[in-house]
């Protein structure tokens, strides 16, 4: 200690102290700053595995090195979240071109999807797979999420996420019983016709509230009875005409045929 104290007036001390200060600040920032970079933990092996999977399953449309072809867009910069969403919900690889890619059975294991995601993320930075903390609906506020949902999402996806029509055969899919991770990823990546809702538009906490709202609807027990698809007055009118009128006419025929 004495040796250290003796050198405190050394000309290099001030520079050293500055260096230490910068290191501590940098380390603290790295430790404390909000981060989503789970893909950053990808190992070189994982990236290599992902590249092989990509070449075997995706490159026919997206091109070698994911640079894109006439059939599929370039992927550098779409981020791991986009890969996780598209492959994890069974949208990619697509079986046939069409106005919109629908969901199918998921073809890959979560490890394989993570490998492809790591590979795509290694090409250029993009939205990472969200932290589990922000995709867990049970930690959010469903009432606030409901307001956000009605303002930002309901015009396409319907007030309770039953889905709705877009132009020329495209559609906003149903959001019922969808994993919180995929809802979150869809918001940050904006797949197909959907716009991107980045963290400035809707903060991660608010995104979690939206997940909370959708999961609350999934769990609610329909106090009114059968919901007829939660599609609004059209199925209600159809029900009134087919079943309501049908039953009434049935009784009328029965009563009319009974002569007193």
């Amino acid at each position: 200690m004495n040796a250290l104290a003796a050198r405190r007036r050394h000309p290099a001390a001030i520079a050293l102290l500055l260096l230490v200060g910068l290191l501590v600040t940098g380390a603290a920032y790295a430790a404390l700053a909000p981060k989503q970079a789970s893909a950053a933990t990808a190992t070189a092996d994982q990236v290599e595995h992902g590249k092989k999977l990509f070449l075997a399953n995706c490159a026919s449309c997206h091109g070698i090195g994911a640079v894109g072809t006439d059939e599929g867009p370039a992927l550098p910069g779409v981020g791991a979240a986009s890969v996780d969403f598209q492959m994890g919900t069974g949208r990619m690889p697509m079986t046939a071109p069409g106005v919109q890619v629908g969901t199918k059975k998921v073809k890959f294991s979560q490890d394989e999807i993570a490998a492809v995601a790591a590979y795509i993320a290694s090409l250029a930075p993009g939205p990472a797979i969200p932290d589990g903390e922000f995709t867990d609906g049970s930690k959010g506020d469903p009432a606030k999420g409901g307001e956000l949902f009605r303002v930002n999402c309901a015009m396409c996806h319907n007030a309770v996420g039953s889905g709705g029509a877009l132009t020329r055969g495209k559609y906003a899919p149903s959001l019922r019983h969808v994993d919180g991770k995929y809802i979150y990823e869809a918001m940050v990546t904006g797949p197909q016709s959907m716009p991107v809702f980045n963290d400035t538009n809707i903060t991660p906490d608010s995104k979690r509230d939206i997940v909370a709202y959708l999961h609350a609807i999934d769990k609610s027990e329909n106090p009114g009875g059968l919901t007829l698809g939660s599609l609004g007055p059209v199925p209600e009118g159809l029900f009134a005409w087919v079943f309501g009128l049908g039953i009434m006419v049935g009784f009328a025929v029965w009563l009319g045929s009974k002569s007193a």
Binding site: V99, P142, A143, K144, G146, E147, R150, V151, A154, M155, C156, H157, N158, A159, V160, S162, G163, G164, A165, L166, T167, R168, G169, Y171, A172, Y213, A216, I217, N222, P223, G224, G225, L226, T227, L228, S230, L231, G232, P233, V234, P235, E236, G237, L238, F239, A240, W241, F243, G244, L245, I247, M248, V249, F251, A252, V253, L255, G256, S259, A260
Partner: protein, 578 residues
């Protein structure tokens, strides 16, 4: 008159005295107790007795109107319950009820009270659902009732006034329904009001003034909910019930129409009296209707206002539609092309909205209300009609009705184009283009096909009357001839097939009279003759007794499968004659 000493001056003074009435009226003596007491004070026995003895004919289609009437009564009953808790106010409050996904959300008092009715008031949700389902059923039933009246010609003299009243009732019912739909102030109903504001603004020149008048300022404001409430629970129900009473009294006064049949003439009504048969049947049917609506409401949810969230002018939900009865107007808006909005002299003409939103309903209901008068003018028929037409026996009317129905149906289905697109995996643009084409092509095709089907059915009726029913029994005669035995219709069945009359197209009189002066009505006469020929130039006459007689003389040999040599020619001719 009691004149103890006839002729005496004192007695003559009493000549015009009225005998004191007995304390109990003669009617009371027969009905006794309470009824007699009431009759003494109201004199109701005569009227009630008249009503109780009224005879109504039996047919299931006559009960569609009853379904409408009972659904309306159910609406009145449940609506009264709802008024006990509904708060018609746009005042903002923070929700703190038991529906968790909306806890802490700011909303109007109207919406909060509707949530409270749904979740926190015992029996509130089922009553709300009964109210809404009954409203849908009310308009479903009155529409089908109206179709029954139209297709059977029950609107003919003397019932034109009641037809017009029915048209007004139908129009008021959909307005009443829309007012109720707009009250809870959830996202869906608010979107409906926003649309209504747009409709008003699309009125040329006065649009924005009209909208400010109705909403008491810019949309949404605080005035619209209390105003709609007054319209929904007071103004329209009063008019509806009033007109409905007139409607029903007219039915009693003019007597109910009946389908043609043995013993049923234009001058009688064959059926059962109200007391005891119809009172029991109709009373029982009320409980059936109420029960069916209650059962549906208990099992199937309707208008889950909690799912839509409170109204806020910025969001809209996918699948925003009005209730079905306003669907045709919404569909018209979806089909009208955007280029109908244009500017002249600095004014915007939103005809793409105004045609569907402002013109369609009045024009449609005016045409409907005028139809009986049009048909009477074309036929020139001034007689009273108490026997109904079978729809096939009025092919042109039936065709026109089906064409109108197709027109209406296309508009109604167009309102659901987005739901069809997602549920059937179709493009909403393709559906809209298809409906835009069908709205012009569909009704004429429907008219033609319906008219042809009606004429074919009439020919089949003729065939049945002339030849009877084919039994399928092949009979071989002693000389080896085969024929199929036809069973003649019994006279009762036959009567239904031959009782009607067919109009002849009107013949155009000379355009000038004997002195060569042109008739002042020449133009209208020509139009009338053209319409008459449109109505009646294609027609199948009912079988006359002479034709029937002739057919019976032909015998059954005409139906021989293989005729023996030599006779074949004559028999073929015979069968061709039919």
């Amino acid at each position: 008159m009691s004149t103890p000493h006839p002729g005496s001056p004192a007695a003559r003074l009493r000549d015009h005295d009225v005998t004191p009435q007995p304390a109990v009226s003669p009617a009371a003596r027969s009905v006794g107790g309470v009824a007699g007491w009431l009759d003494d004070r109201t004199g109701a026995a005569k009227g009630v007795g008249y009503l109780m003895k009224k005879v109504f004919p039996d047919h299931w289609s006559f009960m569609l109107g009853e379904v409408a009437m009972y659904s309306m009564i159910v609406c009145l009953l449940t609506g009264t319950f709802l008024t006990f808790w509904f708060v018609p106010s746009a005042g903002q409050v923070v929700y703190d009820g038991s529906y968790i996904p909306l806890k802490g959300v700011t909303m109007s008092e109207a919406y909060r009270s509707t949530l409270d009715i749904s979740f926190d008031i015992r029996g509130g949700l089922i009553i709300r659902q009964i109210h809404h389902w009954a409203a849908l059923m009310f308009i479903v039933a009155l529409s089908t009732h109206m179709l029954r009246v139209f297709f059977t010609g029950a609107f003919r003299k003397p019932r034109e006034i009641n037809w017009v009243i029915g048209c007004i009732l139908s129009m008021l019912a959909i307005v009443e329904g829309f007012a109720g739909y707009s009250l809870p102030d959830d996202l869906l109903s608010g979107t409906g009001l926003r649309a209504a504001e747009g409709f008003m603004q699309s009125a040329p020149v006065i649009g924005s003034y009209l909208s400010y008048l109705v909403f008491d300022g810019p949309f949404p404001g605080e005035a619209i909910i209390p105003r709609l409430y007054a319209v929904h629970v007071l103004l329209l129900p009063a008019i509806l019930v009033g007109l409905f009473t007139v409607h029903i009294v007219m039915v009693a006064v003019q007597k109910h129409t009946q389908f043609p049949g043995p013993g049923r003439t234009n001058d009688n009504v064959v059926g059962y009296p109200v007391m005891p048969v119809y009172a029991a049947k109709a009373g029982g049917f009320f409980f059936i209707v109420f029960g069916v609506i209650a059962m549906i409401s208990a099992v199937v949810g309707i208008n889950p206002i909690w799912a839509y969230g409170p109204y806020d002018p910025s969001p809209v939900t996918a699948g925003s539609q009005p209730d079905w009865y306003m669907g045709f107007a919404d569909g018209a808006l979806r089909l009208l092309p955007g280029w109908l909005e244009f500017e002249t002299f600095g004014f915007t003409w939103s005809l793409n909205v105004a045609i569907g939103a402002l013109l369609l309903i009045p024009v449609m209901y005016t045409l409907m209300a005028l139809y009986p008068f049009l048909e009477r003018w074309v036929t020139g028929d001034q007689r009273e009609h108490h026997l109904l037409d079978r729809p096939r026996n009025a092919p042109t009317r039936t065709g026109l009705g089906v064409a109108a129905l197709v027109f209406y149906g296309i508009l109604m289905f167009a309102a659901g184009n987005d739901i069809m697109a997602i549920k059937l995996g179709l493009s909403i643009n393709d559906i809209t283009h298809l409906f835009r084409t069908l709205i012009f092509v569909g009704p004429p095709i429907a008219f033609w096909v319906t008219k042809r089907i009606c004429l074919s059915l009439q020919r089949r009726d003729r065939d049945m009357v002339l030849h009877g029913r084919e039994t399928g029994h092949i009979i071989r005669t002693a000389d080896g001839q085969f024929f199929e035995r036809h069973e003649p219709l019994d006279p009762f069945t036959r009567w239904e097939l031959v009782q009607h009359e067919q109009f002849q197209p009107l013949q155009l009189g000379p355009a000038t009279d004997d002195h060569g002066v042109a008739s002042p009505n020449a133009r209208t006469d020509r139009l009338r003759a053209r319409l008459s020929s449109f109505y009646f130039s294609d027609r199948v006459e009912p079988v006359t007794p002479a034709e029937l007689e002739a057919a019976h003389h032909d015998g059954h040999r005409a139906e021989a499968i293989e005729a023996p040599e030599g006779e074949a020619h004559g028999e073929l001719e015979a069968s061709e004659r039919h």
